[in-house]
Amino acid sequence: MMVSANRFRSIGWIALLLVCAALVMVLAFRVNALRSQVHRTEQQIVALRKEKLYLETEVETRANQQQLKLWNDVEFGYVAPTAGQYLANERQLAAFAKPDGPDSPTPIRVASADDAVAAEAAFPSVIPDFAGVTDMAAPAAAAEDEDKAVAKPADAADHAKATANLGARLAMVAPLKKDSKDKPGKGKADKEGKTKDGEKKAGLAKSAKDDAARPGKGANLTAAKAEAKPGKGAAAKSEKSAKSAPKAAHSGSKSAP
């Protein structure tokens, strides 16, 4: 019995040894399999890097300086920028907007001449567009603006005029837009037209709001309102402008002392 137990134990040990050996073997196999996988991947990396270098060199060769010069001579004709095309800083950039002298004529612009005025009218929109602020800020602004309005009546008149002009322009744009809608294959143009209309309307509404925020401008406000109507009618789809225009009028009436 003892012998058989001993024997059984040794068989057990041997079996354990064999199992361990088998496990080590399996592990070793896996390690080696992984190693060759790594090697294969390395080879792939080498091949890809060589391919990359090849392509890179090809691109560099095809786009070498002499080739680019040839293309430039024949096709593009680019030249080095001149001193006048460089700006030293933002102030220099801003200086372009300044008139040359006190009574200098407005520069001739190739694009729309009203843009500067429209931009000025749209400027207050940087103030957050929620009702409370407008209402609260209005009295404070009113005190300041009163002086300004007295000091610069011409400016205010210009402003109203510009707003009126803008309204008139929007009224002009509306029929054009309708026309273009009728034409097939002009979807994109229509879209652009719409966006522009939308922007203009928004600008108009803002300008109306701006006017409204200023006290003592009842006449201006009515003008703005009156002019705002055709714009509103022309593009009723733009909810923002449709909503903001009455709001501006409302706040204006509120803030008026």
Binding site: N32, H39, V46, E60, T82, Y86
Partner: protein, 581 residues
């Protein structure tokens, strides 16, 4: 009896049968054993092999990733990392006559037809040579480097004997750009002419060749310099042109071009005169471009203290030689006027006052008496004027001093002049030119040649020459260019030749804080319509700088600014106006 016999017989038969059975059984067992042994052997072998493969076997010729990607020759890049030279597996055209088998003709078509087709693809190929090689039936290269599209065309010829092995060769993606700086690598893999030769040990060293070697060259500026020099050379029908752009402070060579150039990709064609580097190897009498050096030396030595002092500008005789100007500028000129009009006589008078010792010392300090300091292997030795005394090492004669003062009787390379101008404008420190990228924190020591105040004065004077004088065509708006023209007659048999000139413009910009020195030189420019019938530097070399500076300035970090300039208000009242050389 009978039965006994019969039983005996049966017994014998049985015994025999048993024996047979026994032996058959043994044989069968033996065979089974063999088969079993065979199986055991096979199994064991398989196991051993599996274990061997799984445990010990490494892949044959296993190389590391880094080793596999290590180029056979290191890459050379410009200062911004643009590859200028790299080891690249490109196609070559190999003729294998045995591709169609041992017997029979090696080609499908006749050698003449194949050669004609090849000439159609490579117009520069030699038809007779190709026919001879194809007929000889020996394996050989027909062409060392073939573009992929050309390889496709050859493949379309349907000749199996024309093979395209991909071989690692030296390739220059930018073609002939900076050819004289780089040089080329011959078929044996040896570098020649430029940095390929200089850097050879490093480029081949396995420890270093994995990382690219950056040169000081800026490929964009190099391209612009070559373009503009090439254009200037064409416009003036010049024999050659040379140009160098030098960082005024560090001495780094930003661009260096010698035209006509060569294509380093065709190393088989590179054994010719075009590999000769005009910038570092050829010496010229650079003429009037030396005048600012003389004036600087005189200001530094205290000989010129007042720039309003006037010197006679009429021709005068020294020994048998008469010194005269290109034009008559009146009876007298002051120093700013002399530089603006490029007067030889006034410069000679200044040099006479300065004396040979001081001028010679300045020239020596500027390295004019030795080969130019640069890494390139081809560096020309200047023609240094002989002095008196033993071995010609004594002081210069009076006439020598005078001629050297306006750039005659001394011949140096354009690179000498570039380094000298860098010292003139950078505050007075001469530093050796280098083609290695220099860390701004570790500039070369250099040596002081001029005082900083002298350098400031020279900056004003050089700017005046461009604003009011002979360098007007180099005045790129906003770049504050300053410089000096030089038009020297080339020496020939029996004196100087009136119509063979070396036209040079030595410039620096921006003059309020000089960053770069530009030297442009044309070898024998002709009077053409594009130069208004003139052949002097003011009409051919100066316009090249005028076109070049706006191209390279913004790329090199110099922004044009029309509101900045070096202040020349204290000198402006001293000059009239006129034309010079």
């Amino acid at each position: 009896m009978n039965s006994l016999t019969a039983s005996a017989a049966i017994a014998t038969g049985r015994v025999q049968l048993a024996t047979v059975r026994q032996s058959a059984l043994v044989t069968a067992r033996l065979r089974a054993l063999w088969v079993m042994l065979l199986f055991v052997f096979l199994t064991l072998t398989a196991c051993v092999r599996i274990a061997q493969l799984g445990l010990f076997e490494q892949t044959p010729e296993r190389t590391s990733l880094a080793e596999a990607l290590l180029p056979s020759r290191g890459e050379i890049t410009d200062r911004n990392g643009i590859a200028l030279a790299r080891a690249f597996a490109s196609y070559s055209l190999w003729f294998n006559p045995k591709a169609l088998g041992e017997r029979g003709a090696p080609l499908v078509k006749t050698p003449e037809e194949v050669a004609r087709a090849l000439v159609g693809i490579f117009p520069d190929a030699d038809y007779a040579d190709l026919v001879a090689r194809l007929k000889a039936g020996k394996p050989c290269y027909l062409r060392r480097r073939v573009l992929p599209e050309d390889a496709n065309k050859i493949f379309a010829l349907g000749e199996p004997a024309l093979e395209f092995p991909r071989e690692e060769q030296r390739f220059y993606p930018q073609g002939s750009l900076a050819a004289h700086v780089l040089g080329y690598v011959d078929e044996a893999g040896k570098g020649h002419v430029g940095m390929e030769q200089v850097l050879e040990p490093r480029l081949l060293d396995p420890a270093y060749r994995g990382t690219p070697t950056a040169l000081s060259i800026d490929a964009r500026a190099q391209g612009a310099l070559e373009d503009e020099l090439g254009r200037g050379m064409l416009e003036t029908s010049a024999k050659g042109a040379a140009g160098v752009i030098l960082d005024a402070d560090s001495g780094e060579v930003i661009a260096l071009a010698s035209l006509p150039s060569f294509n380093p990709n065709r190393s088989d064609l590179a054994y010719n005169d075009l590999v000769f580097n005009r910038v570092s190897n050829q010496v010229y009498e650079l003429g009037s471009t030396f005048k600012p050096i003389t004036v600087a030396s005189a200001i530094d030595a205290g000989v010129i203290t007042d720039l309003a002092v006037r010197y006679p500008s009429v021709p005068f005789q020294v020994g048998k030689f008469t010194i005269h100007d290109s034009h008559n500028f009146g009876a007298s000129l002051n120093v700013p006027e002399a530089l603006i009009h490029s007067s030889n006589t006034v410069t000679a008078h200044v040099a006479d006052l300065l004396g040979p010792v001081a001028l010679k010392r300045t020239m020596e300090q500027l390295g004019m008496n030795e080969r130019p300091t640069i890494e390139l292997p081809a560096r020309g030795f200047p023609l240094w004027p002989h002095g008196g005394g033993e071995g010609g090492k004594g002081d210069w004669a009076r006439l020598t001093t005078m001629t050297v003062s306006y750039g005659h009787g001394i011949a140096v390379t354009p690179l000498h002049l570039a380094s000298a101008y860098a010292a003139l404008v950078n505050g007075g420190i001469w530093r050796p030119a280098t083609l290695y990228k220099v860390d701004p924190a570790h500039l070369a020591q250099g040596r002081r040649v001029f005082q900083a105040s002298t350098s400031a004065r020279i900056r004003q004077l050089l700017r005046m020459i461009v604003v009011d004088g002979t360098g007007r065509k180099a005045d790129a708006a906003g770049f504050r260019v300053g410089g000096k023209t030089g038009s020297a007659e080339k020496p020939g048999s029996g004196g100087y030749r009136k119509t063979s000139l070396i036209a040079t413009f030595a410039a620096a910009f921006p003059m309020d804080k000089p960053r770069y020195v530009v030297i442009v030189m044309l070898d024998e420019p002709q009077a053409t319509a594009s130069t208004s019938g003139q052949r002097t530097a003011a009409w051919n070399a100066a316009p090249i700088v005028g076109r070049l500076v706006p191209r390279i300035g913004p790329m090199l970090g110099v922004v044009p600014d029309a509101h900045h300039d070096v202040d020349i208000s204290d000198l402006s009242p001293l000059v009239g106006s006129g034309e010079g050389e």
